[in-house]
Assembly symmetry: C2
DNA sequence: TAAGTTATTCAACACGATGTTTATTAATAG
DNA sequence: CTATTAATAAACATCGTGTTGAATAACTTA
């Protein structure tokens, strides 16, 4: 009942080949033909698993989000500001470990939809930690949430392409401080 | 020496037609054929002006950035916090006036490259206003700059797709406050 | 290990979009 | 008005697409 090893290999090599291609050019410039040539997989085989290159791309994104979630689930956090800080450290560590994929998904060849999606996923966790302790107006809160989440991803993206990367701890301290200050500005 | 009216029309109608198409689907799903049919322009004519649909798209983005810049150049700002606030109000007013195009360029069908680009352009202005008054560490400053700029664009994007939009003044007040607080957190 | 299942490959196909070229027509600038 | 030049229409080779049927190879399970 376990999944066929051939299928595993096919999906794996196609996945890796697409990521390699996306390091060079946007998904819109990638053809199914060249992807299959790079992966050394028959085109007909590709079509038994995916409808087109975008389909595969979406699945890579979905797997990434699932992986991030399960990764973050494995940590029990302390209460208060320390817990929030720890969470952000973990996020930076994860990005560091998966830098190639992150560069593809968050870089210039990534798509906006995913950006928004990952922002909501990660942002909710951070915001949840913070929300345990503070209260703000509803509409304002959503905007602050958006601001903090997109701003943080912006920092991650910059950090991701930096020559001499600062440590995850330093970055987390920076982000946590920015988030807290921005949020505190609106406590009634 | 003035540009031929036929050329003006061709470029204009192609531009408008592409924007209409981009309200429905991403640029990768748009074909030159359908674009030309929508614009009622011969395909051969399209190829005398652009290499492909991406080329036209890039030009639309470039024109947008040029337009934003010249728009913002037309305002002389007061000194200090009032000046920064005024600038942000102007940005929100601009977005409101050009909401259709902004929805295309900043929405889910926009591309990340443009997002980064516009972030730098607008962010530099805001940061310049702020930089007149404060001093911070170099590397930290760049991260804060990135954070504030991407966060602000995140807010603009959310606002752009809202049912009952808050006024530009209210939004500007929110953004200015968030920017100032985040920045002040790092003054030595 | 053997048997039956199933994924992959290969070749071929019709189809549509691409990018280019030619001659022709129509609009424009001066 | 005239010379210029842009847009059109039709045709073309080329390429990627998505699907098919038969042959082959690898896998799972008993």
């Amino acid at each position: 009942m376990a999944r066929d090893r051939r299928v595993k290999y096919t999906k794996m090599i196609l996945r890796e080949s697409l990521i390699k291609l996306l390091l060079e050019k946007p998904i819109a410039r990638v053809t199914v033909k060249e992807l299959c040539e790079k992966a050394d997989i028959n085109r007909a085989t590709f079509y038994t698993h995916y409808t087109d290159q975008f389909d595969l791309f979406k699945q890579i994104e979905a797997e990434f989000i699932a992986d991030v979630n399960s990764y973050l689930d494995n940590f029990t956090l302390e209460q208060g500001e320390t817990g929030l800080f720890q969470l952000i450290v973990k996020i930076f560590e994860y990005v560091e470990k998966n830098s190639e994929l992150c560069r593809v998904l968050l870089g210039r060849n990534g798509d906006m939809d995913f950006q928004t999606h990952i922002m909501q996923i990660v942002g909710k966790r951070v915001f949840f930690e913070w929300g345990k302790r503070k209260k703000v107006d509803e509409i304002i809160a959503e905007y602050i949430y958006t601001y903090v989440a997109t701003g943080s991803i912006g920092i991650i993206r910059k950090w991701l392409f930096e020559e001499n990367q600062e440590s995850p701890e330093k970055m987390a301290a920076l982000v946590a401080r920015l988030a807290n200050k921005g949020i505190e500005a609106f406590i009634s």
